[in-house]
């Protein structure tokens, strides 16, 4: 099948991974085979080679990451977030007059599974903090990956009611106006990425993921959460273009291109096992905050009892998008060991290398 036009070149030349969960073409590397072959090295020279190259560069990189303790969602999350922002050096001056976009994870909803999505209480707390810091505007936006119906997702997750009570606006990124931007990463063969105009109009983008295992990528956190800024009208439901382009590679490209200013991770109750939607709840009792997303994700991975170097997208991000080595991350707040909670990954070949860590 010939590639389609306008930058969405999803054809055989781009095939580094198979369709989500589906098998690969004969003689080609599938996502599952790639990941099964052993972490970053299995991603092929483009990712593993760059990981080795850029790891040397990490020597010059430092990032601060804050871990706050919150036993549950009734905790004073606004105070915790405010403390975390102070600890990582985000000042009122940097927020005043800015438009702040909070991007939670609302991938799919189910009445009995609130642990799929970022909890509304954390989003409200973040909004309150940014308003107190004199942000010109705080709003929430998401382009959820499975369900097209944003209103239903907002209704079922409780996010809609929470946002209405706090007079916080919601923007449906799946159906936004879009504009092409050059792919700043280069890990996939996508020349350009289509981004929602709303995203480009925000001054401060805050990735607010749920801490979860992911049955393909191993982990989904602040960087993978950015799949949700990619507009569904261009990438589909699911965003299968990104799957075919390679999930780890797409995570890296989107992160490199979008460059969020901040991450606030809902690690109070996460998900283990068959994440990102079918796993089981796992209590950690933490909120993780940082300005460098690889450093945040690496810290969260350590909280899960895993080794970031064995998570392919993080190994590849090391040094190029930020530091992931413990020595290069200035840990603030609670020590990792105090809240570390071993997360169970599915027993699948491509995840075993991460389990062994």
């Amino acid at each position: 099948m010939s590639p389609d036009r306008a930058g969405l070149k999803v054809g055989p030349m781009n095939q580094r991974c198979a369709a989500p969960g589906a098998s690969q073409g004969r003689g080609r590397l599938s996502r599952r085979r790639l990941l099964a072959a052993g972490g970053a090295l299995a991603l092929g020279w483009s990712v593993a080679g760059s990981a080795l190259w850029w790891r040397r560069r990490e020597n010059g990189q430092r990032a601060a990451v804050f871990i706050g303790r919150a036993a549950d969602y009734a905790a004073d999350l606004a105070a915790l977030i405010a403390a975390g922002l102070r600890e990582i050096g985000l000042t009122r001056t940097q927020v005043r007059g800015r438009r702040v976009l909070l991007k939670p994870n609302l991938v799919e909803t189910a009445a009995d599974r609130p642990h799929i999505n970022t909890h509304p209480a954390l989003v409200l707390a973040a909004a309150e903090v940014f308003r107190r810091l004199d942000a010109a505007e705080v709003f929430v936006a998401e382009g959820q990956g499975h369900r097209r119906d944003s209103w239903l997702v907002l209704d079922e997750s409780g996010m809609g009611e929470a946002l209405a009570q706090a007079s916080i606006e919601f923007v449906d990124l799946n159906h936004d106006d879009v504009e092409p931007v050059p792919n700043a990463g280069g890990w996939t063969a996508l020349d350009q990425l289509y981004l929602p105009r709303t995203l480009r109009s925000a001054d401060i983008l805050v990735s607010m993921p749920k801490l979860k295992t992911h049955h393909w990528a191993g982990v989904t956190c602040a960087m993978k959460n950015l799949f949700g800024v990619m507009p569904g009208i261009v990438y589909g439901w699911p965003k299968n273009v990104l799957h075919w382009a390679g999930i780890p590679q797409a995570i890296l490209d989107i992160s490199a291109t979008v460059r969020p200013a901040l991450a606030i991770v809902d690690a109070i109750v996460g998900m283990e096992g068959d994440g990102p939607i079918m796993g089981t709840p796992r209590h950690v009792g933490a909120v993780v905050i940082g300005r460098n997303l690889p450093a945040v994700d690496a810290t969260c991975v350590r909280l899960m009892g895993l080794d970031p170097q064995r998570v392919p997208y993080l190994a590849a991000a090391s040094g190029r998008l930020g530091p992931i080595r413990a020595g290069n991350i200035a840990q603030r707040g609670e020590p990792i060991a105090a809240l570390q909670t071993r997360f169970r990954l599915l027993d699948l070949p491509h995840l075993r290398a991460m389990q062994r860590a």
Partner: protein, 323 residues
Amino acid sequence: MQRATRLDDESAAPGGRRPLPRPPQIETGPVSSDWRSVLAERLAGAANAAGAWGYAAVSTGCAEPTALAALALVAQHAAPLRVRCALDWLAQLQRRDGAVPVSAQVSSPCWPTALAALAWLRCGSAADGFGRRIAAAIDWLLETRGRAVPPDPAAHDHDTTLGGWPWVTGTHSWVEPTACAVLALRAAGHAAHPRTREGVTLLLDRALPDGGWNYGNRRVLEHVLRPFPATTGLALAALAGEPRTAAVDAGLDYLARELPRIHAPLSLAWGLIGMRAWNATPAQAEEWLAACARRLLERPVIPHYEALLLLAGPEKCPLIVPG
């Protein structure tokens, strides 16, 4: 991040920059019966200067909301000139190969081609003169096929070799684009075409074991996935005219359980369209639609939501193509 040009009317920015109205569970009183004319008038007035609709007021014209708006206005016998403009706009958007992209800003993906074809086919006299456009769109649909991959039973249990329709050329087939393509091909008189038959087979294959459809995966690894009301309704609408199977019955049962608690226009509308395609409209449908319309009217127009609500009413729905 770099600041982009802001829209003039912030209240009407992409996606609707206002708090989401709360679900109208509490409002169960009598509802004005003329909500359809109010909604249709508002929808007609939301077209942009080019005669198209975006996904929000004052946003870029897009093929899907424009096609749905045209169909909805025809169903309401409203604004024929607007309908004609919409059909003309879709024709201008059409590529030489017959495909209709999402908007004028992007030349792909072209999954709205099926909806554009439906609009040209089902808008009655307003659609006179679009024969070549329809033929080109149908040809493109018949040529377009989702990417098949070899079966991998450990990962999936659906038939990954069936060729339905993808959202984006070169990717796998999924339920919504396949259902829309089947609807368009049926409307064009191609119900017996092998591609239509394969699309129907794919839809039946993707039905979830406990009833309903989601975006198109039945199972991933260990778990059977959850159904969604909107894609269930769409699949049922596309299957109208086919023999009534266990998958159809299970889908209808799922919607009958699910729709009473749904107040979101997209899911409610597609759910009801799917049920109506099988003469299974719930008795409370009108009440639900009116409550949903009231919720929509509390905020700036969202054209594709409003169009779908109008299409889900008791009038003859141009989306449903009887067998």
